[in-house]
């Protein structure tokens, strides 16, 4: 019985990882540091042997709520309130983005797409598993091993024509 739940968490994690990495890369996070703090983290990642564009990606996630935050908060609100919660989460993520001096395209579009995906997949995978899946997805980028994660993000950014 518990094997089925673990498989659901892993599948939800893969869906969330694809969602926020593709949207963040399309809206140009690896291209340049948006605020001054992201430049420091990118150069620090380069010093330990990683790729600098992957470092800019990680720094921009830390310094402003982007599509990763949109994915987590929209899945939380859609677990608590249904489809309307996703729209409220998109509004509040936009306000948070403007407070951190960011245009806010990535956060709101990420929140809306994950709401649509949860509504379409709701008979198979419930919204509770998407929360654990999102935490698992952010763990593989920010918490596990910084050097190889930045090299992987740099390859994805080069393939999608963002950066270099």
């Amino acid at each position: 019985m518990e094997i089925v739940e673990i498989i659901k968490v892993v599948v939800a994690g893969i869906i969330c990882w694809l969602n926020f990495v593709l949207i963040d890369t399309y809206f140009g996070l690896p291209e340049k540091p948006g605020v001054l703090g992201a430049k420091t983290i990118g150069e620090k990642i380069r010093d330990i042997g990683g790729n600098i564009h992957g470092g800019y990606f990680m720094g921009n996630i830390v310094c402003s709520p982007d599509a990763s935050a949109g994915t987590l908060l929209a899945s939380i609100m859609s677990y608590l309130m249904g489809v309307e919660g996703g729209i409220i989460a998109a509004l509040l993520v936009w306000i948070g983005n403007r407070l951190c001096a960011d245009p806010g395209y990535a956060g709101t579009i990420g929140a809306l797409t994950i709401t649509a995906i949860i509504y379409l997949l709701s008979p198979i995978i419930e919204a509770k598993y998407f929360i654990a899946g999102m935490v698992l997805a952010i763990f593989t980028i920010q918490g596990f091993e910084h050097k190889y994660a930045s090299i992987l993000l740099g390859k994805i950014a080069k393939k999608m024509n963002r950066g270099e």
Partner: protein, 81 residues
């Protein structure tokens, strides 16, 4: 106890120990961001009400604002020294 809460709890415990042991200043911020994701998810799973969702969103946005200020100050302090 639920299997979902146990997975998030193990990740949060690992992050709290790695913040304490890492020596670099910039890499502590990356672990702190991951810990903030975990706590925000645990709050929403614990309270189970729309008010809990509002608390989770407010906590996450304010935590991001705080770490933005810390990263800005690391850059400024490097110039002065």
């Amino acid at each position: 106890m639920d299997i979902v809460e146990i997975i998030i709890g193990v990740i949060a415990l690992l992050m709290a120990i790695r913040i304490f042991l890492t020596r670099s200043r910039a890499r502590k911020l990356l672990y702190l961001c991951c810990l903030s994701f975990c706590i925000s998810a645990l709050i929403a799973l614990y309270v189970d009400s729309p008010m809990g969702g509002i608390v989770a969103i407010t906590y996450f946005v304010c935590s991001t604002l705080s770490s933005n200020a810390i990263a800005y100050t690391i850059e400024q302090a490097k110039d002065i020294e």
